[in-house]
């Protein structure tokens, strides 16, 4: 741990080129309710690795949703890949979203599609022919240890296998950033460590990684930046 810095008072200083995501005084409220997150000012650099943590209900999932543009802030500025999110056309929003891989705690796999089809979904959405990506998908499935589950449907996969399938789907388009919401929440400690090694390896290969977790033990095993959300406010431990 290098030190503590409250980024609510941060005024910038990181060059544009190194930022994947930049938040400036961002706040979000649902309807007329209180702000779920407020005064968020920070950035996520290219090829960086960070944990996003905080107690349940602190706004981690909301922040993840803001990251991949599923929500728009009610105040402040968010720029993703150098593009201002406010006023972005819907088609531009989707093209930015394709550069971000997301892994949800509940996996969000489609039960009627095989592991192969689930993982290949982002490529299919891009309009690519199956022949052009078949080998890549099978190779990625082998890499995450699902080489023998290519044709299995999600309902017959174990929690860990589903998790790895969700991770493979998030990675298949080689995103510049990976967001993972409680990726180790449903797996036992050895598998959690294995998945974490997978994320570290990805980061080494050049992908920015943000992992939302409240597992202190897991975070203590890795020396990485921590974004701590509490009552909607963010504190950063570099």
């Amino acid at each position: 741990m290098v030190g503590l810095r409250d980024l609510a008072t941060k005024t910038g200083g990181v060059s544009e080129a190194s930022d994947l995501i930049r938040f400036e005084n961002v706040g979000l409220r649902y309807g007329m309710g209180p702000e779920v997150v407020r005064d968020l000012t920070f950035d996520v650099a290219r090829k960086s690795f960070q944990f996003l943590t905080g107690p349940s209900g602190a706004g981690k999932t909301t922040l993840i949703r803001l990251f991949f543009l599923a929500l728009r802030p009610t105040r402040g500025l968010i720029s993703v890949f150098g593009r201002e999110v406010n006023g972005l056309a819907k088609s531009e929003l989707f093209s930015l979203r394709r550069r971000i891989g997301v892994v949800f705690q509940d996996f969000r796999l489609l039960d009627h599609l095989t592991t192969f089809e689930n993982v290949a979904l982002p490529l299919r959405v891009l309009g690519r022919e199956e022949a052009s990506y078949r080998a890549d998908v099978v190779e990625l499935l082998r890499w995450v240890g699902l080489g023998d589950r290519v044709h299995a449907l999600p309902p017959v996969l174990s929690g860990g296998e589903k998790q790895r399938a969700a991770i493979a789907r998030a990675l298949i388009t080689r995103p510049e950033m990976l967001l993972a919401d409680e990726p180790t929440g449903n797996v036992d400690p050895p598998l959690a460590r294995r998945l974490m090694r997978l994320f570290v390896e990805l980061n080494r290969l050049g992908t920015s990684v943000v992992i939302a977790t409240h597992d202190i033990n897991l975070m203590n095993q890795f020396d990485a930046r921590r974004l701590v959300l509490e009552d909607g406010r963010l504190t950063i431990y570099d």
């Binding site: 599923a70 819907k90 989707f94 009627h112 982002p122 044709h151």
Partner: protein, 321 residues
């Protein structure tokens, strides 16, 4: 064969079976059983059937009305009233001669006493001597093309040369027939419109239901960066096939009904009733327009179903935002 070999063979067979199943299910991002498939197919088939029957009825009435009008307009009647001091037979012959000299006339027939008596038989009974009664004589004039005959000029010449002559060109009757036929056609088209509207509304409800059932699929597709157009295409593909299936079933059933009616109905109505039916409806046969129209309606309904589902998906996604 050892246990190991057997297990390996079973594994290989299972893998092949899974591959085949996966290949069959390709391109189905929206699971088929989550679209209210069978119920909607039946609704669309019924709508298509009703639309095709309506179209058949409309073409039947329109064809019959066209035939009536052509028949009626190809014939005019000159009536020569008996006037004291004139020889009605000579006047009738002059009227026939004047008609014969008119360009465009292809046939002139003077109804003789016997035919006149037969026309009056329902009112005056049999054994009638027309010479005792002031009954007008009729000259039936057949014309090839109603537009080439100058009726005004014929009327003038008859007025000059024949005393008591008048022309009846059946225009009033023809126009009444035409307005009746037009009203029937209009009613038919209104029914077609209502059937199409009901089909569209059924598809809107079914699409919204399918979208709600597949909200997970929609959210995952959005998650992996699918644009609304991609999602709409996935739903539209389902509904196009479903609409085509329902539309064709309905159209085929309607075509079968047309064929059965064409073959069976007329021969079973014997005698004068049959003549009346065929006078009104021709041979009660739906022409090629009816059959091709039914096919057209099937495709129209399929396209309408697909487009409706596409627009509904766009609206649904816009509402979600």
């Amino acid at each position: 064969m050892t246990d190991g070999e057997l297990a390996h063979k079973i594994q290989v067979a299972a893998f092949r079976r899974q591959s085949r199943q996966a290949a069959r299910r390709q391109n189905q991002l929206v699971p088929e059983n989550t679209v209210a498939g069978n119920a909607l197919t039946i609704v669309i088939a019924i709508m298509s059937f009703l639309a095709c029957l309506t179209l058949g009825a409309v073409t039947l009435v329109r064809d019959a009305s066209r035939d009536w009008q052509q028949d009626v307009q190809r014939e005019i009647t000159i009536q020569v009233r008996p006037i004291d001091g004139t020889d009605i037979a000579a006047e009738t012959a002059t009227a026939a001669a004047v008609a014969r000299d008119t360009p465009g006339v292809v046939g002139v027939e003077v109804l003789d006493e016997r035919e006149n008596a037969r026309l009056l038989e329902p009112w005056l009974g049999t054994g009638l001597d027309l010479n005792d009664l002031p009954v007008p004589r009729l000259v039936v004039v057949r014309i090839a093309d109603p537009s080439t005959v100058d009726l005004v000029e014929l009327r003038d010449r008859l007025g000059q040369r024949v005393k008591g002559a008048s022309i009846d060109d059946h225009r009033v009757w023809a126009s009444r027939l035409q307005s009746m036929a037009n009203a029937t056609v209009f009613a038919g088209l209104a029914i077609l419109g209502l059937v199409f509207l009901a089909t569209i509304l059924s598809v809107v409800f079914a699409t919204r239901g399918a979208m709600a059932t597949n909200s997970v699929v929609v959210s995952v597709l959005h998650l992996v960066g699918a644009e609304d157009g991609f999602i709409a295409r996935e739903f539209q593909r389902h509904f196009l096939l479903l609409g085509l299936r329902g539309g064709l079933v309905g159209a085929a059933a309607a075509a079968l009904i047309f064929a059965i009616l064409g073959f069976l109905v007329i021969p079973t109505i014997a005698g004068s009733e049959g003549e009346q039916v065929s006078a009104l409806f021709g041979h009660f046969a739906v022409g090629p327009i009816g059959y091709f129209g039914a096919l057209g309606i099937a495709f129209l309904i399929a396209v309408m179903t697909a487009l409706t589902s596409r627009l509904t998906v766009y609206r649904y996604l816009a509402d979600e935002d």
